[in-house]
Symmetry: C2
Subunit: 177 residues, 2 copies
Amino acid sequence: MSDMADKILDAAEDRIRAFGFHGFSFRDLASDVGIKSASVHYHFPSKADLGVRVARRYTERFLASLPDPAGTPHNECFDRYRLAFRSAIVDGGRMCMCGMLGAEIDGLPEEVRAEVRTFVDRNIDYLERCLGDRDRAWQMFALLEGAMIAARGSGRPEAFDLATQHLATALTAAAGA
Amino acid sequence: MSDMADKILDAAEDRIRAFGFHGFSFRDLASDVGIKSASVHYHFPSKADLGVRVARRYTERFLASLPDPAGTPHNECFDRYRLAFRSAIVDGGRMCMCGMLGAEIDGLPEEVRAEVRTFVDRNIDYLERCLGDRDRAWQMFALLEGAMIAARGSGRPEAFDLATQHLATALTAAAGA
DNA sequence: GTCTATAATTTGATAGAC
DNA sequence: GTCTATCAAATTATAGAC
């Protein structure tokens, strides 16, 4: 993977998280990284290819950034997970990329859809190991994705905390009990 | 408001909820309702106009479909709210329109963004009257929007129930107490 | 109100020179 | 790897006939 390919993926990730998959063009990305759109196609032949690659990198990076539930107290484990979402929306104003792509799922190339499903499945598996319960994993995943929507839709980043703070505390307490 | 304008708004609402604001064209809508794209522009001069009108109609209709919290037990009131979201995703596979637009907020015309904020604010007000607590209103709003994302992203409509069933029960019980 | 026609721009994508 | 040049199709939008 070349430096330039990585820079293009960075730009694509940022634009997907801000505008959605149909909210940017190869020319936008080219301008972001300082080359021409034909050169972007050299690295990623089609937009579907690009979507698959950026979604896959996002999933791997995100999961790799999380603590191992086997070696971390469950309370801390879930709180770290919540803070990863929080900093994206509060510090950068960005959606979770796979939350955005999940909303737009019907309009995505099938290969990209498959990557989104993988992200969700692996996050649910992770949260189940954190929280000890699969239903609770779905609840927390939904709560965090929705808190991002609430923050963006209302124009109030603090909505993320209003939505997640108390519940997250209560649920990790329940999980620890 | 003419019949045709309403049919166009129906088509626009369905396409926004499936594909997002940038996921369809005036020609798509024209084809949906059986006219030409130039005629769509007769009813809605620009895509921003269309976005404002469809978002405003969605907000009014959605709130009008809900029971009055003053004359309805709070448990039942919130459950009806939850079921409105549930049937959209489980029966039709569609996002809440303002959840979709909230995710895409950075790419929307400013007039449309304002309508999304209004939707969120009025829904939070409604939920506060249902649940008796403003934080809990944000929590439930986030949970329901996120449960739609989880269902779409995973390709599993039942994820909506896994995410919302137990928590919703617990929280309306707490609200009733 | 709807049509045909069309303008102006943008988009995803390719060919071929360097 | 990046460029210029270009393409075919699509997009938002307008003008003017019916």
